[in-house]
Amino acid sequence: MKTILKYAAACVALLIAIGPVYWLITIALKHEIDQFAYPPAWFSFRVTFEHFKAAFGGGSFAVYFGNSVILAAGSTLAALLIGVPAAYALARFEWPWRDRVSDWILSTRMLPPIVTIVPLFLMLREVHLINSLPGLALVYTGFNLPFVVWMMRGFFNEIPKEIEEAALLDGETRMGALVRIVLPLVRPGLAATAVFCLIVAWNEFLFALILTQTESAMTLPVGIAARVTQYEIKWGAMSAAGVVAMLPVLIFATAVQKHLVRGLSLGAVKG
């Protein structure tokens, strides 16, 4: 009885999670005329790929998709390149004000993002980075940086100091010990952190909406929303774009799932 209840609960949770996604996929594949049939055609309908063609074939969604890929990958890479060494320094070296600096880094995440948008807009405009991918990448990097620092600091703290010291005595430089001994050991954490950064950057809407106005710098979330126009809502194209937007994150998260779970629980226990 208990088992049945457990499975029932799991099924309900699954339905709630999968339902909208399934709905999205069917809309993307249905002819316009079937999209709002009542009662809805859940399983049997004529499949068409015209919405995908409309969205990506020569359309601006291909540009948005490319922008999103460049932005997510670029800003994640930048956040890791800056954040990982910072986290290492915070975890390993003794220096005055160390704890205050890490608190200060964390505090930047306590701000609701929207309060920074006006100053960011003004600053970026001043340096002509409005409406540009580098401008957005800069903002996303800054946004993900505290997260990278705090996650990775926890992971570094869990690696016993002696392992690194052993490497130093074995003849390694600090950098060599970091690259060949420590980083392989924190790989699960690195993977989890990277996936989170990617997802945040990939899904980000607010900054992208306000800091870009032209198609050349628009990202997928903004582009999709822009299909709600004054005269009509292009459900099919929006859904098709939505389906494609889901894929990269899905693929990436699945690929590193093993690391993801371990990484998260590893960080949770200590640090």
Binding site: E162, L169, G171, G176
Partner: protein, 327 residues
């Protein structure tokens, strides 16, 4: 290659963790740093390793000053208490790592690793990962990693303290033999006086960052420099009796006991006895003082039995009561 430590001082905050320590470990010598936790012995070892740097003083290895050199440039190997194996590498890769860092050819590394693993009896473990090994096996791997490149000096930080009692004694003997065969100057940190006595050519006893005595185990035991050394080395501990400006010290084996009255012996009553199997430790109460004596295993003494005792002639140590120094 001799290891020379002269006037080495290290401060943490305002506190001196190591205060002007000076001694020289000669070529091939096994020196044990002995002291209670927090006495600065590990800090001293880490300064020799290059993991900490002294605020004053100098460290020389084979005549060359290495005080400010990076750890990797010292050619010193260290065995850590936690073994500090690389968890993501096989045992073979762990042992071969110091050679790999030195860019030695792969076939040579493989040969050396085989050789060292054979010597320590861990050849069959080479393809495994550290987490698949027992504590004793990990200990051997750590040792193998330290000796594979024939360093100029060995440092060991309580390497046996994570092993169970039986294994510890076994590894202790093995370690001593290995050090003798290799003939490499070794600095070994422990708080276990039995380890110090059995392993060392000479013991450096430390307390509160200061070197108390640097001498052979026999001299540390039979001619302790002060009451601290006298009390720290030997089990059970030395008896101390204050007499005016002098503190008398007598080891339990130098206390003679009798159950019959002897002229000019002091009388006392049995306070407690501890049977060890091969001997019995007897603690007697004589007025204010508790005196510990070693007695034969056969002596059956109940609580409160009247006994008589005296100190063996010529076996009484005398210390200055104020400074604790040997007179």
């Amino acid at each position: 290659m001799a290891l020379e430590i002269s006037g080495v001082t290290k401060r943490f905050g305002g506190r001196e963790a190591v205060s002007s320590v000076t001694f020289t470990a000669e070529v091939g010598e096994f020196v044990v740093l002995l002291g209670p936790s927090g006495c600065g012995k590990t800090t001293l070892l880490r300064m020799v390793a290059g993991l900490e740097f002294p605020d004053a003083g100098a460290i020389r290895l084979a005549g060359t000053e290495i005080t400010q050199r990076e750890a990797r440039d010292r050619d010193i190997a260290m065995v850590f208490q936690s073994y500090a194996l690389y968890p993501h590498m096989t045992i073979a890769a762990n042992i071969g790592y110091p050679l790999k860092v030195r860019k030695r050819p792969a076939d040579e590394i493989a040969r050396e690793v085989e050789d060292v693993a054979g010597r320590l009896g861990i050849k069959s473990l080479l393809p495994n990962l550290p987490r698949q090994l027992s504590g004793g096996e990990r200990q051997r791997v750590a040792l193998a990693r330290a000796i594979v490149r024939r360093p100029r000096a060995f440092l060991m930080d309580e390497p046996l303290s994570n092993l169970d009692a039986r294994l510890r004694v076994e590894m202790r003997a093995e370690l001593k033999h290995l050090q003798h065969v290799l003939g490499i100057v070794t600095l070994y940190v422990t708080h276990d006086q039995a380890e110090a006595m059995t392993l060392a050519h000479r013991i450096a006893v430390m307390r509160d960052g200061k070197l108390q005595q640097f001498d052979t185990p026999a001299n540390v035991y039979h001619r302790p420099a002060n009451t601290f050394v006298a009390g720290f080395v030997g089990s059970p501990s030395m008896n101390f009796i204050d007499e005016g400006d002098v503190t008398l010290g007598v080891r339990p084996e130098d206390v003679e006991l009798s159950t019959t009255e002897q002229s000019e012996w002091s009388s006392a009553r049995v306070w407690v006895t501890e049977e060890m199997g091969n001997e019995t430790i007897v603690v007697v109460a004589a007025g204010e003082n508790h005196i510990t004596a070693r007695a034969s295993a056969e002596s059956k003494l109940d609580f409160d039995t009247p006994v008589w005792f005296r100190f063996r002639e010529g076996k009484v140590h005398r210390f200055d009561r104020k400074s604790g120094a040997r007179i």
